[in-house]
Symmetry: C2
Subunit: 358 residues, 2 copies
């Protein structure tokens, strides 16, 4: 069993995705899509029906199948665990639901120091055993396809924003207010959420995932100073502890609207930084330096246009990288539910077929 797992590991290490995470050259540009598993796929909608998302995630057979659907359909270079950034806080009983068409909703938002008590440490093998079962299933299935699995968790700031706001927010005003008015409490909150992220990702990696992505989706709403002072220290700790525990698992750091923060996202310890469509990939490269890989950066909204438009934009993204090793093609944010899967299929073909002049 151990020998087999070692063999799988060394085979996966040669995959284009994991090599690109390490800025190593690859024959073709690897590609996967955030939210590749999910609402845009008819086979997903059929399988999931009307049930709650958190219940679906808690069912390893279904979550395994959902994770595999886009790998089979599109031939993407990586699978990402079907889960949600709110799973760990839900699992420790903070009182979270994911409401269709709304997003995560928190019954009793985080308000005072007393609420810290509601954030006990995560015991992955007990609290989220279903996640680990899904990962175990997936690693076995994906080994046959030579496809690595990406573990993930929400970054402390983004999860905190849901806990403090009580749900999705355009302004994040309560979060920013708490951050600036009571930095001590805010940092204590981020610290607990950092522990949750570490425990959750670490357990997924131990169960066999090959890489991880830390989603700090809403961090682009902050000023540079706020990020540096209130967010960077905890995110740094998350990457450092995960690196110490899982030296061979590259870490991806992602957020939207982070043009001013890119170098700080790398400074947090990421091997790969996600870049949305607002920043041109060559500019992102310049801000990040040569030792950090980039992931992105096609606008998911554009996938609702016709194929020639998508093809042109995707080619632009590829051309801007100029063939430099360390580019994982992806969208700048998740696949929109209205996206036609046929477009994504064509897109994978285009990326895999793209060649840089030698």
């Amino acid at each position: 069993m151990l020998a087999k797992s070692m063999l799988t590991k060394s085979m996966l290490a040669k995959s284009a995705f994991l090599r690109a995470c390490r800025c190593l050259p690859t024959e073709q540009v690897p590609v996967w899509f955030m939210r590749q598993a999910g609402r845009s796929l008819p086979e997903y909608r059929e399988l999931r029906g009307e049930g709650s998302m958190l219940e679906t995630i808690a069912c390893p057979e279904v979550a395994t199948e959902i994770t595999l659907q886009p790998v089979r359909r599109y031939g993407v270079d990586a699978a990402i665990l079907y889960s949600d950034i709110m799973v760990p806080v839900h699992a420790i009983g903070f009182g979270v639901d994911i409401v269709p068409g709304v997003g995560p909703v928190v019954a009793q938002p985080f308000r005072t120091a007393k609420d810290l008590q509601r954030l006990r440490p995560l015991e992955p093998t007990e609290d989220t055993s279903y996640v680990l079962q899904t990962v175990t299933n997936l690693v076995a299935e994906l080994a046959k396809l030579h496809v690595p699995l990406i573990a993930f968790a929400g970054a402390p700031f983004t999860v905190a924003s849901y806990l403090v706001e009580g749900g999705p927010s355009r302004t994040h005003a309560r979060t920013k207010s708490l951050m600036c008015s009571n930095p001590q409490l805010f940092c204590a909150l981020l610290d607990r959420l950092g522990d949750l992220a570490i425990a959750s990702i670490s357990s997924q990696l131990t169960a066999g995932a090959s890489a991880f992505q830390l989603f700090d989706s809403w961090v682009g709403t902050l000023t540079v100073d706020q990020y540096r002072r209130f967010v960077l220290p905890t995110s740094k700790r998350v990457f450092a502890e995960l690196k110490q525990q899982h030296l061979d698992a590259p870490g991806i750091h992602f957020g939207v609207g982070t043009g001013e923060l890119l170098s700080l996202l790398a400074a947090a310890g990421a091997d790969v930084v996600g870049v949305d469509w607002r920043v041109q990939l060559n500019d992102a490269r310049q801000r990040l330096g040569n030792n950090v890989a980039v992931q992105g950066n096609l606008d998911p909204a554009l996938l609702l246009a016709e194929w020639p438009v998508v093809a042109k934009q995707a080619t632009d993204v590829l051309a801007r990288n100029k063939g430099q090793p360390g580019h994982i093609f992806n969208l700048g944010h998740g696949v929109l539910p209205e996206t036609d899967p046929a477009i994504l299929e064509q897109l994978v073909g285009l990326v895999h077929g793209y060649r840089y002049a030698p």
Copy 2:
């Protein structure tokens, strides 16, 4: 009458706001707030009651009073006409309503070339005579206070996004899709909306407003290439035609999340570029060069924090400008409805009292 108006004009030209628009030195940093008139003010809520916003705008006495309320209460350096970016398209009968808690809603969104016929030219003296009456009232009232009035209109792209989406949108997917799939139609749409913006702003300036702001609030959702190719040409034409007709009225160009677009917003012909909180003011200066003034850039969400937090952040903004002429203090986006007016009052005092070391 003419002599009086000339006198007013030359007195206003000495105002800190108009001098800062020209990058001329001022004794104190001028300050005003986007949405300074509106939902955060109890006197506004009392005056407006539950009526429709478009109806309120169409009532010059009420719109005049609403515009003056924050000038009296806060002592800001500029008044901005109480109106909405959808007023011109509404006035020519495109079928727009502003729904409380939602925003602009379009009954029959823009879909095909046939919809261009629904965008006839604006005849300001007929279609929006109420706006011009409000401006005339305001110019008389504001002359007594030596406060200039800012005219405004929505920029072609942002107005187009509402017409195409049918309402507010997080992704602007339909707009981007139309832009890339049918650039000819999209540019024809922007062209008509450019004409509306020119006609609307020009009529407000003729009626006595001293400066204007072109709101391209959602343009930060575009890639740099999309902006350059599909938006910049029309915005350039708007500024150029207004400059030709009203040489002495400085133009402000504003959008959110425009870090990558700042130099292009200036290239459109703006004298002043609005900067949100994501970009540090000194970085914005670097991208814009010395001949363009900056407006911003405090995060409005922070105004929900306690005064010491607001004071620190505002001082940071001021310090980052290092006393360079051509800074108009403002928020990075509009005042949130929950904002305590007392905080804004203190903020105006802080900005006016701030002095750079000589």
